[in-house]
């Protein structure tokens, strides 16, 4: 990605952000609140522009194709780049199984048995299957918060996206659920390119291979996680990761 700018109305939130997310690896985006982490990740699947008055410019290359190109349909992009949000947002009245396969139903015709099978696979991948296999018919809104978030991950995985974006996926969860999600991310990177936003530095250190530090909408530093946390090049990065500011 290169020279990405993003704004809300007249407020320029991202300035010339350039980075590359390595395939089959976890890239963490860290930075203080309001620095543009969510905006950044939402630019990667063209969700940013859904907010009234918001827009973005620059290049985001995905499989060699610029997703901000003139004849790219954001809907297609979003089907290939999955996203998990900060607050679990399953469809509350849909059943657990229907939630898991909601994206598949959009994508095209599948028979019920096919859907069920893909749903089961996604729920297993999200580490939720054992807990919900007897509750597939219950509404998604009845699961616990941590389960709901894993259901959302299953929903994103079911369509077999190439990239998975996660915006603070564990920040609304209790420690045990957070741990589950982190283990899950560890497994997911075998198959997916994962970009995760977090304001929790330990979390970034635990799950990410690469880390990008964002400050006031600009990239301060981007490199292997260990380097960022132990011998950063930039003084500001050091201050941030050691908790001296932010």
């Amino acid at each position: 990605m290169s020279d990405l700018n993003a704004w809300f109305g007249t407020n320029l939130v991202l300035r010339d952000v350039s980075m590359t997310a390595q395939p089959q690896a976890v890239t963490a985006v860290i930075g203080p609140s309001g620095c543009g982490k969510s905006t950044f990740i939402r630019c990667l699947n063209r969700m940013h522009e859904e907010v009234r008055g918001a827009g973005a410019s620059g290049k985001v290359l995905f499989d060699g194709q610029d997703i901000y190109g003139p004849d790219v349909d954001p809907v297609d992009i979003r089907r290939r780049i999955g996203m998990v949000f900060q607050r679990p947002n399953p469809f509350p009245t849909m059943t657990v199984l229907d939630n898991a396969v909601a994206g598949l139903k959009l994508a095209g015709r599948m028979t019920r048995p096919e859907l069920r099978e893909r749903g089961e696979r996604a729920l297993r991948a999200a580490g939720l299957w054992e807990e919900v296999k007897d509750r597939l018919g219950e509404p998604g809104g009845k699961l616990s918060g941590g389960q709901q978030q894993r259901l959302c991950i299953a929903r994103a995985l079911a369509v077999e996206p190439e990239v998975l974006l996660m915006d603070e996926p564990a920040s609304a969860l209790d420690p045990a659920s957070t741990l589950r999600i982190e283990e899950l991310i560890e497994e997911l990177k075998e198959e997916y390119t994962v970009v995760i936003v977090t304001h929790n530095m330990q979390q970034a250190a635990r799950v990410a291979d690469w880390t990008m530090f964002l400050l006031s909408g600009e990239v301060v530093e981007h490199g292997p996680t260990r380097k960022i946390f132990t011998q950063p090049d930039d003084k500001r990065t050091e201050d941030y990761v050691t908790g001296r500011f932010g």
Partner: protein, 344 residues
Amino acid sequence: MARTAIQLDPNTGPPAPRRRSRVGDRVFKGASATVAVGLLALLALLLGDLAVGGARAFAKFGLGFITGRNWNPVFGREQFGALPFIFGTLVTSAIATVLAVPVSVGLAVLLSEVHSGWLRNPLAVFVDLLAAIPSVVYGLWGLFIMKPVFDHRVEPFLSATVGKVPVVGALFRGNPNGGDLFTAGVILAIMILPTVTAVTREVVATVPRELLEGAQALGATRYETLRMAVLPYSRSGIVGATMLGLGRALGETIAVSLVVGNGLGIGASLFKPGYTIPAVIASEFREATNVGVHRSGLLALAVLLVVIAFVMAALSRLLLRRSVRLMGGSATVAAERAAFQVNG
């Protein structure tokens, strides 16, 4: 909680702290209790009066008052059977609901979807204006402008097309001339449209952003987002909005009485003249005297109308309660508010 306990049993509780606000609280409590009790008493009085007034008709005809199909107020040959009016009231309201609700939901969604388009404000204002037009104006317009068009164009057309379809076609067969249930239903639909649209719009506005984004991030188009996220979440609220509209349709008098045709027939065809409870009350109350049971008959009709309205409100409550359990949230609040307005 604690305060309530103190008031119930002043001897055992700790002494209540004396604060200025307590006086205000008491006054407020007293005032609202008075108003609440007063309103209930008024309602009871009203229903009581209606029931007492209608008792003679109920006593004379028994269940026949509800199941009878003849309504003849001529003294000496008096016959009071309310079935044609019940039928007409339910049928016209049903037509109105069936026609208005989909259009309203569509409009409400459109109004909340169109971000900044030039269409948004004029359309919203227009819908609100529709709600402000007095019903007699709708009635006159219906009688002089809409009814002829329906008689000569719309109904013959429906008769020649949908009327040929088996089963459903039965609704659209018959002589389209003169006032009929269908025309009245359509007028009612137009009248309840703004109300249902306005409430639905409020409900749709309460759908959380996260839910919309959840659908969009899966690659849902606008329409798919609507089906996946907006409508399921708003369902209970839309039921509430519908009930609000239905309540208005059930009670509408003038506009209906001008176009419904005032006939006592009961049949499958919507192109036959019908009659509704409010319409017959409005057109006969003047000559209804206490010589026979005519006046009592009209009052008994009023009782039936109230019962129908209560049953509808109760049904909507039931419907709501079932879907409400699934989620809670502010759509529910909006819906409950709407349902509450229907109830009382």
